[in-house]
Symmetry: D2
């Protein structure tokens, strides 16, 4: 998908709204119009109107519907599509968010003149993890290795976004008990997998020194974090699946990417500065995709004042924090098509979150 | 409370956070420190951490708790406190909002030199409405009259915020049936009362010409609206209770007020412009209070793209829209102590909403 | 599917739990074991773990997943499966309900000896309705006609359950306006379609005299109702799709069906009496399927005492009423595999609901 | 309140519905009619229409409103009322439950002839617990001691219900850390306090042998449980407050009490057997109060089939389990005035729950 050698590559992206989780019309239209070719699609990243929790079946519905498009157009089985294309759907379009999908494709670049650094992306996989490795340095190191491998393969010199589906290897009851008795209780849950994945990204990009990390530092020292990670963890997955987005001078096309990190969910100035760097204004048609993480500050306080997201037993704090970050981001971009997913352990500082924008170069 | 004659008045305001709906410690502290005198308090406007709906009992708890403070300090009964001081609590602190209260007081101004226009406020009441008047021109006209009366009494030359508890006179089943048969079905519910109250404010301020209005225009022509109204309606209330906030050259003190209207819930630039006019920046300690209305655009679309607030059967659109406007407003102000209440018929354009800020003058 | 002529038919049913809306393993197992033949399946009726509201996508996911089973096994397109097999999924497994599916099949009866009345079922369709017919006598009459046709075709002499997907024909804005001006506002929404469908069943079974009905009686006189209807209405559907379950002396097999109606949601004695008539006890392995409707009493009162299902703005009354009826029904049956769907206009008395049980004959 | 010596006592109870958490009209009416005397009231146990969670302020509102009644009628301060009368409100009236209160009073019995065992009740307190004692045998033992003391004082020979507000002593961060390092992490949270309180009741009543218990058995061996406990735990409370309800041959009056335990939430037969023992039928006017605990089976399974209460991220399992047990109980009693509170560690078997009924003797 990201051939090495002398073929110059370029990325393309098409963003389309959906009328429901299974609405593939926008993708079909992109294929019909020639804006995208089915064979060049590398990944789909989309928001669906579910609750983002355990009983959110909108993601499964979307995967099923979009997979069928590729099955039919490429003559593949569902398993083959899964192998070939990352279908990454995140539930939760609280507040202003328009359910939408961004399809990314990689193809040979017909252009020859170098254009300056351009968006480059590639897909990778970690090795399979054993249950006792999840949430520990083994996961951090292997995640860093896999990211570096993709970045190197794609000629990415600056990483801006690492979209990950984090592994959570299942364990037997006996294994769980044994680990507990050995004083090294298993960490194979979503919190730990997201945390270790983010630190893996931080090591790969050099934001955190490998030497500063240890098993005991994970989920303890929140001053260590990545500003490019975006990880959701998935029980039962043994290998972390990842897409690295960055810039490469060797790629063509018209897309560029940059990122920032919010110090807290009200940090609009960080968004403004990022937009200024990219030269985009509110409502700018050059904007192609916006990605962010969100977290209700676990300390229960924002700018020195109490918030109630964590003490509300009617509505989950995950829904509130997505709603907040999406509203702040969309109000700066003048565009409600923003991707915000929640839970952000070691993704930016405590209560903060990474944001990445993909835009068409001027 | 707003004596005419030669005594120059000034307004004061104290804002304090609460740890729960019945937490009166902030108010007590303001009295203890001398920042406020119990006898000069005119109204309390606060946000409580309820759902803002029918089964939100946080408002009643807050009213009960704060009333008791005044009962004890002023030697009054609960009924006398209710007569004397407007206790206006709104449920719903979704997302970033800090539960908080702003207490406004009016007192003689010891200063003598004119200071330029200052915040002036006064309380008023409409006459009692009959059920068939609610939501019709009778309510519009009487509301306009009551607002004008307060503004005149207080020397307010520019109105910036009209906080109203709108009347919804109860009707017997027979009266309801009779009205229906007469082809003039009763409108005595929250939607119509808010709408007529807002149009009353629009007439009082001259934003809408009286001649443009008629019974059939209410809740029909959304191009007619107030930019200063903030009305909640309350079943069983026969008279609309209102507090008019504006500016007067005849008042002293250090507070000023200004307002704007959002064209939609993402309209951060309108907030920025208002802040610029008032000379406040993000995180500015001069900010004393921020008030807004919110509404999930009833057309289901925002900037041309679908939103899902109206088709979510798990969480009410009222909660989403408050969360969104509060996040946008707080992200510009750098302050999560914002008052946002929902449902905004004829309060700004469809899908938009009024915003008012009270700040300390430089 | 229900051949006439001299071939004696029998019905079969297989009930299986699901681990999620797309879990087809139980159906596949029934096919593998020979308990059912794919070609003989007439309908699937199932509960999925969604919210049962507008943003419940579990039904679509289930339909998609189960359709694919038949597509593959019978070599059909999705459209052909839809034409051939009723896939009826209802969201909402609040409280004790196990997400589960009942597959009904009709096949030639190898047995020859008459066995006494047995479960007979058949599928039917009304003609397409125009928008102005929905919720009026045109819908009632055509629904009654279609039910009668199926019952006659299947030799059903007593109807016990009419499972319907009620039509809601879409209308243009102009048509809507025209109807309003003509003083006959359109009724093309879910409430009216369910109401007219239920009254259609009541007419077909003779529970309500046709002469007692008129457009103005629908959704007005709640003393008129069906005890066998179970209708969900679906916007955009122009023809009502229905499955009639009853008993016929001409059918074989081992299944029988009977029904009752709850006078209110606490009416456990009605369930006990129905169980006694069928000779089933709590936990009886002879029980094959249990179907019920539910409704939070719209008067806000139950046995003379207030309930809070209608004034709760956090959780919909539809979720509460399903939870309640399912708990009461499951506690009598000793079995949490119960199908309860909500909203019950003219389905039993106000605040009550029909219940039907399918059991294996002794 | 429960004088020893030769004065024969009797209990009285009045049950009344409320129109909201602060509706004291039913209590006032009981005082006006002479059904109760304010000075003889020992405790109020009520259900309010909140969510039963952290942001449920209906309990505080009810306590405040009912306390004021006693303050006024008895000339006491709020603190004195709190000292004298147990005001026990539980949030959550999901489904059929009518918000209601039962007021229990104890007074000299004017009757002289012995009547057979009658309801006797008394209030008690444990000593203050240190944080490290919560959830351990120290709490179990002291709770058992306090219950025994009350039972002895009141001449209770069979205990049927122990209503407890369980202590959760606060701890400093240092204390917490020290305990963790010592390998005895603090258990000062709601789960552990409820568990230890229930086991205290089990020891007091002899249902569980003291010798079968140890720190490590708590929250581990679910086969050990009380059938009379009903404990809610309250952070910050240092002493467990408890009301023991039982029968005594030395008491007069017309009330009797009995209890049972549900093996799971569908165990209607246990309720039927209890009703038979007490001679009450559905809708019986002799019924005075019904109390139960509830729990969504933590194993995710009910009668061998999956339930979805624990995997729903929209609605808490506490709300579902209360809704279910209340529906089952009310459907047997023919009465929606049932008190069900949730979370039932060591309160009956796993997934089951205690039920107690108070009725007027025949």
């Amino acid at each position: 998908m990201s051939p090495s050698g002398n073929v110059r590559l370029r990325s393309r992206a098409v963003r389309f709204d959906t009328r429901g989780p299974s609405d593939v019309a926008g993708l079909e239209a992109a294929f019909e119009s020639g804006a995208l070719s089915p064979a060049s699609v590398v990944c789909l990243i989309g928001k669906t109107e579910g609750n983002g929790g355990r009983n959110d079946f909108t993601r499964e519905l979307a995967v099923r519907a979009f997979s069928q498009v590729f099955e039919r157009r490429l003559g593949l089985t569902a398993a083959e599509v899964e192998e070939r294309i990352v279908l990454s759907f995140s539930g939760g379009t609280e507040g202003v968010v328009t359910p939408h999908v961004v399809a990314f494709a990689v193809e040979p670049d017909p252009g020859s003149a170098p254009t300056g650094p351009r968006l480059a992306l590639g897909v990778g996989m970690t090795r399979a993890f054993e249950a006792h490795e999840i949430g520990r340095m083994a996961q951090v190191d292997e995640t860093a290795r896999a990211i570096t491998e993709v970045a190197t393969r794609c000629g990415i010199t600056e990483v801006h976004l690492v979209q990950m589906k984090g592994a959570i290897t299942a364990a037997s009851y006996e294994e769980t008990l044994r680990a507990e008795r050995a004083g090294r209780p298993l960490r194979n849950n979503m919190v730990w997998s997201r945390a270790a994945s983010a630190l893996g990204a931080a090591v790969a990009t050099g934001e955190v020194a490998r030497s500063a990390l240890a098993d005991d530092v994970i989920c303890q020292d929140w001053s260590l974090y990545s500003t490019t990670a975006s990880c959701s963890a998935k029980p039962g997955l043994e290998r972390t699946e990842l897409v690295v987005f960055g810039q490469s001078a060797a790629w063509g096309g018209e897309l560029v990417i940059d990122h920032t990190v919010l110090s807290d969910v009200l940090d609009a100035p960080a968004i403004d500065a990022l937009m200024a760097r990219l030269g985009v204004v509110a409502g700018d048609p050059r904007l192609v995709a916006a990605f962010a993480k969100s977290e209700a500050d676990p300390r229960g306080v924002l700018r020195g004042h109490r918030h109630t997201m964590l003490t509300d037993d009617d509505i989950s704090d995950t829904r509130y924090s997505r709603c907040v970050v999406a509203a702040v981001l969309a109000s700066r971009l003048g565009d409600p098509r923003v991707y915000v997913s929640t839970r952000a352990e070691h993704h930016g500082p405590e209560g903060g979150a990474p944001v990445a924008l993909v835009v068409r170069a001027t």
